[in-house]
């Protein structure tokens, strides 16, 4: 890892993050100088119209993509200039994802899907991996369904498995891209409350991109992105966060 240790109080520190895509002879400025600090344990929602840069923002936060310019400091480490292998290692160790379409591995059971991040990480013995997986499966309310395959679950149950998979390795941050978009309102509420509860109990940091009013209502901080810029950063106690 070539990153350096930097002093920062925030779990995630983004500074003048710019992402430019080249399309033909023109260019698209998906993010344009975004500054943001995210504290450990936050329950934050990124909102904005389609094409505003939310997904690019999450991809850069998730080390899936590199910014064209700017600095990103994760847990005191500057991540600029990391190789693909180093970014893979960083994702493996610190970041988890919850996707709109759940994206469970269809040939693996509930338990195996949840164990997957730890198996990729290869740091814990098999017995400990299984213990952690069963504990988190129970926490998301799927005890007894460990040996089911994704095709045997409802959409809400699949998303619970995806959340369990995201939580099992106790990541620094969980990034959720429209996690309720494919769920009915009742199930969506259950899922949001589940994540909110986990956030409160375990102190896990959640960052969502969403259009869902329900998710926004549960968020303690709502960051609005338009045309690649942070146009609003509002905390639920009514005060504006000063980092944008």
């Amino acid at each position: 890892m070539t990153s350096e240790l930097l002093p920062s109080a925030a779990a995630l520190h983004l500074e003048k993050i710019t992402k430019v895509y080249h399309k033909g002879e023109g260019e698209v400025r998906a993010l344009d100088g975004v500054d943001l600090d995210i504290e450990a344990g936050e329950f934050l929602t990124v909102v904005g119209p389609s094409g505003s840069g939310k997904t690019t923002f999450l991809n850069i936060l998730g080390c899936l993509d590199s910014p064209t310019d700017g600095r990103i400091v994760y847990d005191g480490r500057e991540l600029r200039g990391l190789s693909e292998k180093e970014r893979s290692a960083y994702r493996r160790d610190r970041i988890s994802f919850v996707f709109q379409s759940y994206n469970l591995i269809p040939v693996l059971t509930v338990r195996e899907n949840v164990e997957l991040p730890l198996l990729i990480e290869r740091k814990l013995p098999p017995r400990e991996i299984r213990r952690r997986a069963e504990e988190i499966i129970s926490a998301v309310g799927l005890a007894g369904k460990e040996n089911r395959y994704p095709r045997e679950l409802s959409g809400g149950q699949e998303q619970r498995v995806a959340i369990a998979r995201a939580l099992v390795k106790e990541p620094l941050v969980i990034l959720a891209d429209e996690p309720t978009a494919n769920l009915d309102s009742h199930t969506a509420e259950e899922i949001v409350e589940l994540m909110r509860g986990i956030n409160a109990q375990r102190g896990s940091t959640f960052v969502f991109s969403t259009h869902d009013r329900l998710v926004m209502d549960h968020a303690r901080r709502v960051v609005t992105i338009r045309d690649g810029k942070v146009t609003a950063d509002e905390r639920k106690n009514g005060t504006a966060a000063g980092s944008s």
Partner: protein, 418 residues
């Protein structure tokens, strides 16, 4: 690696139809490979067996001077003591028979055809050769019926003679004079070796010695002693057994030349080796076609699981691990296809080994090769192992092409893939 195997294997099973289609293509490729090799081995075996049974025998014992001048079939370079040679062969437990080859002219009083005649001991010859069992009309030579001959069926047809007809045979005697006599056709032979059918003339040793003015009696003139060895389980075993027996007999008969079947059939065996190589080439082409199938199957697997690849990459799986994942799928496919191929090849071969295939109808297509009668397949474990290993290695190599494509996928675009 355990997780990768689990995902790879389960995907192979999950997409059963796709796996099955690819595996069937491989099965046919490897099955054909095994069957083809078995057929070639069987053809070789049949050809060498036919040569052994009807023209060459397993071993020939001659004087070195006779072999050096073999085209002329020189009567003055025959074996000095045929009885001693027969005794040496008998001491090793082998059946043996003396023969006398000479150049003769066969005439039906209208046409004359030069042939290479074989004078044989009517009884002992049947212990080494199977000509007596191949008499199609009439009967084999009998000591009690002198002045009879057995003629190749096509030769007899050309001369317009059959059993009971008379032929005039003339030949150069040991004293360099020409002698001729009349003989009755006792029978016609039809065998899988074309040279016997087209030019075979068999006469008893005593009649021939009398015609040629040569020494008669038990130690009379013979140009060669032919030896029969028990049938071996495979052609290679037969060749090895012939070599070993020749070496032993040569020790007992140091002044004579002992040629095993490997030497006697060297011309055919040389053709056989190049034939096996071209057969292998055909099979490589068949298997390359199945490799295209494997590339296609894994590619379909990659495209149907692009988002899954994105998830795995998002959770920190390296491109190298993704490469391994799809290579393992190729390996799993290769193992399934190759196992099916070996089983299919073995099944078809089982019928070829036990029931055989009648080649009589196709014999003409083989020209002058001694092919005819029933063709039986040969078991060759080495070929099965080669087919299996080749199929697996080819699958892994073929899978690398789409696997590399999967490994190169960017996680962001993979996750966006619809």
């Amino acid at each position: 690696m355990g997780t990768l195997w689990k995902i790879a294997l389960r995907n192979t099973i999950r997409h059963g139809r796709r796996t099955l289609i690819t595996a069937v293509v491989m099965m046919v490729g490897i099955g054909v490979f095994i069957f083809f090799n078995s057929m070639i081995a069987g053809l070789d075996r049949m050809a060498v067996d036919n040569m052994t049974d009807y023209t060459l025998s397993s071993l020939k014992i001659r004087t070195p001077a006779y072999v050096d001048d073999i085209e002329a079939a020189p009567l003055d370079k025959g074996l000095p003591h045929p009885q001693a040679v027969l005794a040496a062969a008998a001491a090793q437990g082998f059946a043996a028979t003396p023969r006398l080859r000479f150049v003769a002219t066969l005439s039906n009083y209208t046409d004359a055809i030069p042939v290479l005649a074989d004078a044989v001991d009517p009884v002992a010859d049947t212990k080494v050769f199977k000509l007596s069992a191949a008499v199609r009309a009439g009967s084999w030579l009998e000591a009690a019926r002198p002045h009879t001959v057995v003629v190749g069926a096509e030769l007899a047809h050309e001369l317009g003679v059959g059993p009971g007809d008379t032929l005039l045979i003339s030949a150069q005697t040991v004293n360099d004079t020409t002698n001729a006599d009349e003989y009755t056709v006792a029978g016609l032979v039809s065998v899988p070796t074309p040279e016997v059918n087209q030019g075979g003339l068999f006469i008893s040793l005593e009649d021939a010695r009398e015609l040629l003015g040569a020494a008669t009696g038990p130690d009379g003139l013979a140009t060669e002693v032919d030896v029969a060895l028990p049938r071996a389980s495979s052609l290679d075993a037969a060749l090895a057994r012939g070599d070993a027996a020749a070496a032993r007999l040569h020790t007992a008969l140091p002044d004579l030349r002992v040629d095993p079947i490997r030497q006697l059939a060297s011309g055919y065996l040389a053709v056989r080796n190049s034939k096996s190589r071209s057969a292998f080439l055909i099979v490589v082409i068949v298997l390359l076609i199945s490799a295209v199938g494997i590339v296609n199957t894994i590619l379909m697997s990659v495209y149907s699981r692009v988002r899954e690849i994105g998830v795995l990459r998002a959770y920190g799986m390296t491109p190298r691990a993704i490469l391994r994942l799809f290579t393992l799928e190729g390996l799993a496919l290769g193992i399934v296809g190759s196992l099916l191929g070996v089983a299919f090849g073995a099944l078809v071969n089982f019928f070829m080994v036990t029931h055989g295939m009648d080649m009589s109808a196709y014999a003409k297509g083989f020209g002058n090769l001694p092919v005819g009668g029933k063709l039986y397949g040969e078991w060759d474990v080495g070929i099965m192992v080669t087919g299996f290993v080749f199929g697996v290695v080819l699958s892994v190599l073929a899978a690398r092409i789409p696997a590399r494509r999967a490994a190169r996928l960017e996680p962001t675009s993979a996750l966006r893939f619809q």
